[in-house]
């Protein structure tokens, strides 16, 4: 999927020298395939290394009734438990809460016996759920942006700041080799449509913990992620948490939504050029707003939210001199 409208508008501005490096871009089907192959083989290796299957006792608390599940250690996920509860819980649960204090991705295998709760969008205090939703939106925006442009536009995903619903929009910072690109309304609309189409594929969001070296191998063509990985690994016990949706893989602390079909209305509201000291091409901040499918809002109210989403997000602007906090966002170094 390439945006013809985007291409038409942008192609005159693109210097011809960039066309030569097309082969080395971090995107395109070959790159996606290479990344996926590494991801899948590592996933397979981890599954096979489990050995003898042990049973764990999961104590489920919540509607329709409290019950106990006997599940497989390091194989069963909260999603498997939700399957036993019914379709409503299978499709509506956003994130699992273990032992009442630990958020857990729905597709992440459970390592031990625990108390399990499943959270959804309409719980009395959905602060954490909103954060998970917003983080996933950022992650998916990265997936959409990396596939939306023509092949002669060089796209390097940088990072996204810690998700904050109060900032009014979710964000992904992306390096593009376009000078002074000011997106038109049509281009934003096309991006939004790409986003919606991407969500309609109903892809599961997979989870994998990998070693630093494997992560470096996966992101070897992305200069920013390659720089970030050692920092993240140092704070995370030499492990990198990866999430995969469709062919797209990204680093994030998580947790994320279990599936892209949770998203209802989605809009890419604005793309703003940032002032940073990152080398190379300019960095653009892609912003968007979204609502879960279960929350219905009339178009006028949603229009207000969209208008608000056009203002530059106050999230941390990435630069060359910063370390990463656990949420894959940059924090200035304090000496």
């Amino acid at each position: 999927m390439r945006l013809n409208s985007l291409y038409r508008c942008l192609s005159p501005k693109i210097p011809t020298t960039h066309l030569n490096i097309r082969r080395f871009l971090s995107l395109g089907p070959e790159e996606y395939q290479r990344q996926s192959e590494i991801f899948i083989s590592e996933q397979k290796r981890q599954r096979e290394s489990l050995g003898r299957i042990e049973k764990i006792d999961i104590q489920y608390e919540g509607p329709p009734e409290n019950c106990n599940f006997v599940m497989n250690k390091n194989i069963s996920t909260p999603y498997d438990c939700a399957k036993h509860l019914g379709e409503k819980f299978k499709n509506g649960s956003v994130v699992a809460l273990l032992n009442k204090n630990h958020l857990w991705h729905m597709h992440k295998p459970l390592p031990d016996s625990c108390i399990l709760e499943l959270l959804h969008y309409q719980i009395p205090n959905p602060h954490v759920v909103n954060k998970v939703f917003w983080r996933t939106c950022s992650f998916l925006l990265g997936a959409v942006v990396s596939d939306a442009f023509k092949e002669n536009v060089e796209v390097h995903l940088h990072s996204f700041p810690s998700p904050s619903v109060k900032s009014g929009s979710f964000v992904y910072d992306v390096q593009l080799n376009l000078d002074n690109w000011d997106p038109t309304k049509t281009e934003l609309k096309v991006l939004s449509l790409e986003f919606i189409k991407f969500c309609q594929k109903e892809q599961t969001i997979e989870y994998l913990d990998v070693d630093k070296n494997i992560a470096l191998e996966i992101f070897k063509n992305n200069p920013h992620k390659t720089k970030q990985i050692p920092d993240i690994a140092a704070h995370n016990g030499d492990k990198i948490t990866l999430f995969k949706v469709g062919p797209h893989i990204d680093i994030s602390r998580g947790p994320m939504l279990p599936n892209t079909n949770h998203l209802g209305r989605v809009t890419v509201t604005n793309v703003i050029k940032l002032n940073t000291d990152i080398e190379g091409s300019p960095v653009y901040r892609f912003q968007g707003v979204a609502l879960p499918k279960v929350i219905n809002l009339n178009h006028f109210a949603y229009g207000l939210i969209e208008e608000r989403g056009k203002i530059l997000n106050a999230g941390r602007i990435p630069n060359d001199h910063g370390t990463l906090n656990e949420d894959n966002s940059f924090v200035a170094q304090v000496n």
Binding site: P126, N130, V165, P292, A301, I305, R308
Partner: protein, 199 residues
């Protein structure tokens, strides 16, 4: 001469009644139609929430609204109202409920005292479209989720932020206007004093 306006003769309902009444197929004609509706109205006053066929629910709703609004308007010492209550409520103990329970409940309502929800159609058998008819203020758990009062829901947070952004924009505009007025006033004064000095 002094004819009363026809529309003011009966109390105005808070729902919009249809222009035509629905016919129900009964062998006993219009009387049979009212008999079926009497059963529904009685059951609604008794149970406060019913699942019905959509047409029956919409029709019974009008008669219930009329009955309750008359009861509120005229009270229990009005002969005609009492006769109507006697006709519509087959179980006579419900007449007491109408005047002693429902009238105090709905006296100060600005909205209709009944509420209707369309039940999603069953795709395997789409002939019957159902609806749920209920009296407001019933003791059952709500059928719809309350999405407006919880400020922590994601859309409410986003709307709140949109409101804040709009307000700051407006305040900035007002401040700019005041500054502009003050600056023009400030410019005028020195010129006048200078001209005075020159004189």
């Amino acid at each position: 001469m002094n004819q009363a306006e026809v529309t003011k003769l009966i109390s105005q309902l808070k729902i919009s009644p249809p222009t035509r009444l629905r016919k129900f197929r009964t062998p006993r004609g219009p009387e049979g139609r009212l008999d079926t509706l009497r059963k529904t109205v009685t059951a609604l006053v008794k149970h406060e929430r019913l699942e019905l066929n959509r047409a029956r629910a919409l029709e019974a709703r009008m008669y219930t609204e009329r009955l309750i609004s008359d009861a509120i308007r005229y009270g229990d010492c009005h002969k005609t109202t009492m006769e109507m209550a006697d006709y519509w409520l087959i179980e006579k103990q419900l007449v007491h409920k109408l005047f002693k329970v429902l009238v105090p409940r709905f006296e100060n309502y600005n909205i209709a005292c009944t509420r209707i929800f369309y039940v999603p159609r069953n795709m395997t058998d789409p002939r019957y479209s159902k609806a749920v008819l209920e009296l407001r203020g019933n003791p059952y758990p709500s059928l719809v989720r309350d999405t407006s009062s919880n400020k922590n829901l994601i859309h409410n947070i986003l709307l709140e932020e949109a409101k804040k952004a709009y307000r700051t924009k407006k305040y900035a505009e007002i401040a700019a206007k005041i500054d502009a007025v003050e600056s023009t006033v400030g410019l005028e004064n020195p010129t006048t004093t200078e001209s005075d000095g020159n004189k």
